[in-house]
């Protein structure tokens, strides 16, 4: 059996203040090459926390009690700072649940994508700016120049989300962790983002961890699904999973 690209093993996170409260409880997850893995769960079930963990970030308020994140079978904690820095963003990237706060308000969206392109892969500024526009177009932005010149508060929710995805995939990572990429969008935009993910998987050979509370969407798109209930992975016949499914399926 070949080793998966990215895997989380038995992640258990507790609040620093109240070590008895587990935010994630023995969560494991495997991301094989080129697959879409769905992570579903209700609000507060620990999805965003898991997303951060997959990139090796323990939230400030929490403490890792046990578990590890493996990249190609190797513990990422064993990576030195330099490798880790290039791994983040270069090999695995995270698209944030709320692009409005994930973009720095004092720089244009284009600037930030360009910055990312320059930090990884040694692009010159001119080349990075070209690529930035290409990736905005690839992410389904119709007018990349205008969007690139805008500040995040000037863009609509749908454009922000697509710019966020462009930012996350512009370095051609192997894994994209997408935290609720569609939850703030209408159905038409949702369908476009879904189509975008299929395209990205095909064109960039990308594995995607698709985090959402919409079980229906995950079922249409994902190769495998993990259901989170209050920080725990549960089976599909768990009553709360059924509740999610029936709500999402309507």
């Amino acid at each position: 059996m070949n080793t998966p690209l990215l895997a989380a093993r038995g992640i258990t996170l507790a609040l620093r203040e109240r070590p008895g409260t587990l935010i994630l409880n023995d969560v494991s997850l495997v991301v094989p090459r080129g697959k879409i893995i769905g992570v579903v769960g209700g609000s507060g079930s620990g999805k965003t926390t898991l997303a951060c963990m997959l990139l090796g970030f323990v939230p400030e308020a929490m403490r890792l009690k046990s578990g590890q994140v493996l990249w190609e079978g190797k513990n990422i904690q064993a990576m030195d700072a330099h490798t880790l820095r290039h791994w983040r963003g270069g090999r695995v990237s995270l698209s944030f649940q709320e692009p409005a706060s994930a973009f720095d308000p004092v720089f244009t969206v284009g600037d930030q994508i360009t910055e990312m392109l320059m930090a990884h892969g040694g692009n010159g500024r001119a080349r990075a700016q070209e690529k930035m526009l290409e990736f905005l177009a690839l992410a389904g932005v119709d007018d990349p120049r205008r969007v690139a010149a805008g500040y995040v508060h000037e863009l609509s929710g749908g454009l922000r989300q697509r710019a966020m995805i462009a930012l996350a995939v512009c370095t051609r990572p192997a894994v994209l962790v997408a935290d609720e990429p569609t939850s703030s969008l209408d159905v038409i935009l949702q369908a476009r983002i879904m189509a975008l993910f299929r395209t990205l998987r095909r064109e960039l050979d990308l594995s995607i961890v698709l985090i959402t509370h919409d079980l229906g969407m995950v079922q249409r798109l994902a190769d495998a699904t993990v259901i989170l209930v209050r920080g725990r992975v549960v089976a599909g016949d768990h009553p709360e999973a059924q509740a999610l499914l029936s709500a999402g399926g309507m």
Binding site: C52, R85, G89, S93, L94, D104, P105, M116
Partner: protein, 365 residues
Amino acid sequence: MPMETPRGETGLAWQRFMKDRAAVVALWILGIFYAVAILADVAAPYTLKDESREHPYCPPTAVHFFAPDGRFAGAHVRGVQMTYDHFRRRIYNETADIYPLRFFGRGETYRFLGAFPADRHIITVDAPGRIYLLGADSRGRDVFSRIIHGARVSLTIGLFGVLISFSIGLLVGGIAGYFGGRTDHVLMRLCEMVMMVPGFYLLLALRAAVPDSLDSLQVYAAIIIILSFIGWAGLARVIRGMCLSLKERDYVLAARTMGLSDLQIIVRHILPHTLSYSLAAVTLAVPGYILGESALSLIGLGIQDPYASWGNMLAEAMSIVRIQFAPWILWPAFFIGITVLCFNAAGDALRDAWDPLLKGRGEGA
């Protein structure tokens, strides 16, 4: 998208700043001061080397339009004749000699902006006439000219000093706040050590550590460095506090997940957000440097004759008797005061202009 409204927070803050009358006036005054300082050679009737031993403490020269016989003679000044009264006080009486004011006339030669030779002055009179718009000092030097030349020193020391100390303060504060832990602890104790020593003693101690045999440019640089050394710690502490909260922002986490380096994150995604505060703080700090230079020069440890600074000009005004007979030697104090007031007004307005935005942003994040 309508483009006539200024974009972003900077635009809005600037709009609010411009609504503050006092601040706008202050900005204009400072603008004029700095422009005059840059063009000091042209703006001043006399150069720094100029002196006239026959005119010690000559009072401000009156500008006349009519000759003594009543005929119109254009703007001119008269010659003066010094005598002593029976208390042996100097008395200046105007003579009938007429010296027309020349605008952009030829006077002493100088190097314009330090480069090409020139001899034009905005206002001048032909020798042997003298024009003392704000009176003369003990060696018959024009106070007005020396204030203009001194502005170069006094006004720029504040800017350069602030530039240096704030670069240090921003970087130290940014690093301490961002990394936290032991780094933070060590850097903050260092700041406290600097802040613990009363400023003026530190100033004197540091000045004592610098050799006396420096030329004026070296003294100028030494003063800037000494003042910056005192100034950075306070800012570093505040910036550190801001960074502690700024580093929790999503876009900082985002920058970290993107694999940007720590220094890149501090410089690009944390410090710019402290800019509104720092800008106001910088403006409010400039007066401290101007006063610091004045204090050093006043006690003879700063800029030395023949070079002028507002501080060393005031050294002459340390005797109450001289002030009584020649109150105009206090003019530099007036300009120090105006400058300090203007910087304070502008700094306050800057802070107020940004404040509502800071609050709004805190809730939004």
